[in-house]
Symmetry: C2
Subunit: 318 residues, 2 copies
């Protein structure tokens, strides 16, 4: 009998879940409105009901468990702790809440770790034991894999490369309360902030001068850059510079075989990849040169998070 | 029958080796002049002869193997590659050379990894699965332990925190050929360079103004600071600032339970520890605050490297 798991990707506005086989096939998927549930208890109750209904269609499969990727999800404690983008404040015992409705293993981790596990089981990292996955969304997340296992650290919160410093305690304000974090430079929000700096410092004409800060997205910058907007192109160059330099540092920690770029901003293709690689190559230590590839995730973004979350069920830490 | 291993610590001028029990007792140790042997083959031949002689005294023990810590020692390939401080250039197949003389496992890694393994088996990290050891010698080395294993990365050279950037491609020239690496700031050489900057920028009187760059050591700066020399004290403060800030970044990678300081500069005690802790606490991400201790190695420096190298024999990667 084939095995299936439920993969859940919890986001601030919407969550998504899917029925995934151990071969990485998404048999069914659906969305669920996170923001309609100010209480986590009610969210889990309603989502569990929906999942049970879906599972009725898959009675011919062995149901192995539920994997959940969520911002600030802690693998060890099964809790979501102080996630800035979720309405549920404090410490939410998410695994225990699901356990009320399901008698299978329920495993939680943060969204970037889940994506890394998805990449390892079903994507471009299938044959790799040491790699890093970077999510370039609104913020910057990271899943670090060493010797075939995700690095959780002693408290379950390891792998927060969004919060390594570009400029220690100076530079741009970050949602974490400090200044100068990498995600304030290399992310969808980060490139917008760079674009605004450029519109202030330079005098080049740019179609992006018609957008308010609230209106503008990284897609606008990408589209403008494709059309030849010199400031937008420069914003990508600078973003790749910030990212490439810090990825060079990352190699000195865990020396991955590859660094995968995943999520919204990575859809900009060569526009973000080329400068990232260029500054990475220029700054990486000689002994590492040519040994680490910077490449795009092979998981489709729509499925990646669900696949990764489901993969947690098969890839549990020993 | 008790087990013993030989631990060898290869340095540019001298090497040391010792007979170590599986309880971490150094039964005998000796030195051996590395610099007298411009060829690695001759070095290994002569050292092997000396070790065989020493082993005759320990025939009542089971001889389990040889562990070697060396600059740029590669765990996977058993080779020393392009070590700037050794006369042996290129790629030296050190493990194979020893295998000519011994029919036991011979394991090589870099000196900081060896010290980390020593700390894990015989020192303050006995009950830790996630920690980092920083060697503050002439340069800065690091051994990163995740989930109970040293991180080697995909090519065996992971854990080179001496070469993460304080200032990417700007700042002080480093032996690696780049500028701005952490070890040019936080190490025995680094604090001397800071002291020279301070003597240039400030007008405070200082006993250290009588020393040439070649004469001055970090011990001179430490002694002056103890006597109240304000510039020397400031040099320690600045060194701790550089180190503390970058250790805060390190926590975002692997979230260790503790960071151990080891080697020459760590003998300065609170003079280096206090500012390092202060800037670390000020800069670490909130979710990690209070969770990582910065402490001194519990291994005596004289024995640490030998113990760590010998421990390789018992702590082989699965």
């Amino acid at each position: 009998m084939s095995e299936i798991a439920i993969g859940i990707d919890i986001g601030g506005t919407n969550s998504r879940f899917g029925v995934v086989t151990d071969a990485g096939e998404v048999l069914k998927e659906d969305r669920f409105p996170t923001k309609d549930y100010p209480k986590a208890e009610k969210f889990v109750e309603a989502l569990s009901g929906k999942i049970k209904k879906v599972l009725e269609e898959f009675e011919d499969y062995t149901f192995k468990g539920i994997g959940v990727g969520a911002p600030n999800g802690n693998y060890f404690s099964g809790t979501i702790e102080q996630a800035p983008n979720l309405a549920w404040q404090g410490i939410v015992p998410l695994v225990d809440l699901f356990k009320k409705y399901f008698d299978v293993p329920v495993i939680l981790t943060n969204d970037a770790n889940a994506a890394a596990i998805g990449e390892m089981m079903f994507g471009g990292a299938k044959n790799m034991k040491d790699f890093i996955l970077i999510t370039l969304g609104t913020g910057l997340g990271s899943g670090i894999v060493v010797n075939g296992d995700v690095v959780y650290g002693h408290d379950g919160f390891a792998g927060e490369m969004g919060h390594i410093f570009v400029y220690p305690a100076s530079g741009r304000m970050c949602g974490c309360g400090r200044r100068g974090c990498l995600e304030t430079y290399a992310s969808a929000q980060g490139i917008k902030r760079t674009m605004f700096e450029l519109m202030a410092s330079e005098t080049d004409e740019s179609e992006l001068r018609e957008f308010s800060f609230s209106q503008m997205t990284s897609e606008h910058i990408y589209e403008a850059a494709k059309r030849g907007d010199t400031l937008a192109q420069k914003a990508f160059e600078i973003t790749g510079e910030y990212l490439g330099k810090k990825l060079a540092d990352a190699v000195a920690f865990t020396t991955p075989e590859a660094i995968f770029l995943y999520g919204g901003l990575s859809k900009s293709g060569d526009m973000i990849l080329n400068p990232t690689r260029k500054y990475f190559d220029e700054h990486v230590l000689k002994v590492y040169r040519g040994k680490t590839s910077i490449i795009f995730s092979e998981l489709k973004e729509k499925h990646g998070a669900i696949l990764g979350a489901a993969a947690l069920v098969w890839k549990r830490r020993k």
